[in-house]
């Protein structure tokens, strides 16, 4: 498939006659990236699949309102992150999880997931990451695994580069403390 620039893609998306074709291109170009963004937050493949579908349906319904003030990537990432966090909050409410134990319910997901093939060290790392609050976890995932630039993260998350750097370094420290305490 030919690679489209953002301008070319937007042109297709803005014309009602080519909008569906343009959206198919959007899905093929972004589905994998968005999948992993969601998966790292919610851990389960099934939940990720559901959320990813919701993301694209919301994007389809609202594409006519997209004004191009931000990049398409940024816009899609924001929808994906919002949907992920909404999902996690809903799960916490359903499980009556206390504030201190924010993400412990996700550990069960990790244990039972057939689509997780990490070794013990990987599992320990994931457990450490789960001790972080959602937003900090997001920052850590985006920086550590996706190696995203702080400037790009800033645009997506609406947080300053300085705050993101501080958040990431603090996250690394917390994780390493967890690893040491687990020994």
């Amino acid at each position: 498939m030919d690679k489209y620039s953002e301008e070319q893609l937007l042109e297709k998306l803005r014309d009602p006659r080519t909008q569906r074709q343009g959206f198919a291109i959007l899905v093929s170009e972004y589905s994998e990236r968005l999948y992993w963004q969601i998966r790292k937050m919610v851990l389960s493949h099934e939940d990720t699949n559901d959320i990813l579908q919701d993301v694209f349906i919301k994007a389809w319904i609202n594409i006519d309102n997209f004004r191009g003030e931000s990049k398409l990537t940024t816009w899609l990432y924001r929808i994906a992150i919002n949907e992920s966090i909404t999902f996690l909050n809903k799960k916490r409410n359903q499980n009556n999880v206390s504030v201190d134990d924010e993400n412990s319910f996700l550990l069960n997901t990790l244990e039972g997931d057939k689509y997780f093939d990490g070794d013990e060290a990987q599992k320990l790392l994931q457990q450490a990451i789960l001790t972080l609050p959602d937003k900090q976890r997001l920052v850590f995932q985006m920086k550590y695994f996706d190696e995203m630039k702080y400037e790009d993260m800033s645009e997506i998350l609406g947080t300053s580069v300085g705050a993101l750097k501080a958040s990431y370094h603090h996250a690394v420290k917390k994780i390493e403390n967890f690893l040491t305490d687990s020994n």
Binding site: F23, V27, H45, Q53, D119, A121, L179
Partner: protein, 127 residues
């Protein structure tokens, strides 16, 4: 012997999560089939009159304002003229040496004298 991990750098940086085979290609087809249909609305053709309408309305509004101002200022000018002539007359009587009553008396005397002269002329020259 169990290896103790203290640093993040001691853990291999890789994605430990996997997906079912062909998941992404199947997902793309599935989501496109799920998208609700949207009504294609043809762009409305804008006629010349529709384009000109706002300008015409604005011009009419300014014309209306102009004529209203004209009407209001014309009455005011007439009043000013009337006021000025009255004021002039009032000012005139304040500057002359005789009173208004004396002036009218003078005019009446002139009329009487003119009538006398006419009579005399007719008597002496016309008869």
């Amino acid at each position: 012997m169990e290896t103790k991990i203290n640093k993040l750098s001691e853990i291999e940086k890789r994605n430990p999560f996997t997906v079912p085979e062909d998941y992404f290609s199947r997902f793309n087809e599935h989501i496109m089939a799920r998208l609700p249909e949207k009504e294609i609305v043809e762009p409305k053709k804008v006629s010349m009159w529709d384009k000109a309408k706002p300008w015409v309305y604005m011009a009419a509004m300014f014309m209306g304002i102009f004529f209203t101002i004209q009407l209001l200022t014309r009455n005011t000018t007439n009043q000013v003229a009337t006021i000025s002539s009255t004021q002039f007359t009032d000012d005139y009587w304040s500057t002359v040496q005789i009173t208004e009553e004396e002036f009218y008396q003078y005019l009446e005397e002139q009329l009487v004298n003119d009538g006398y002269y006419d009579y005399m002329y007719n008597q002496v020259y016309m008869n």
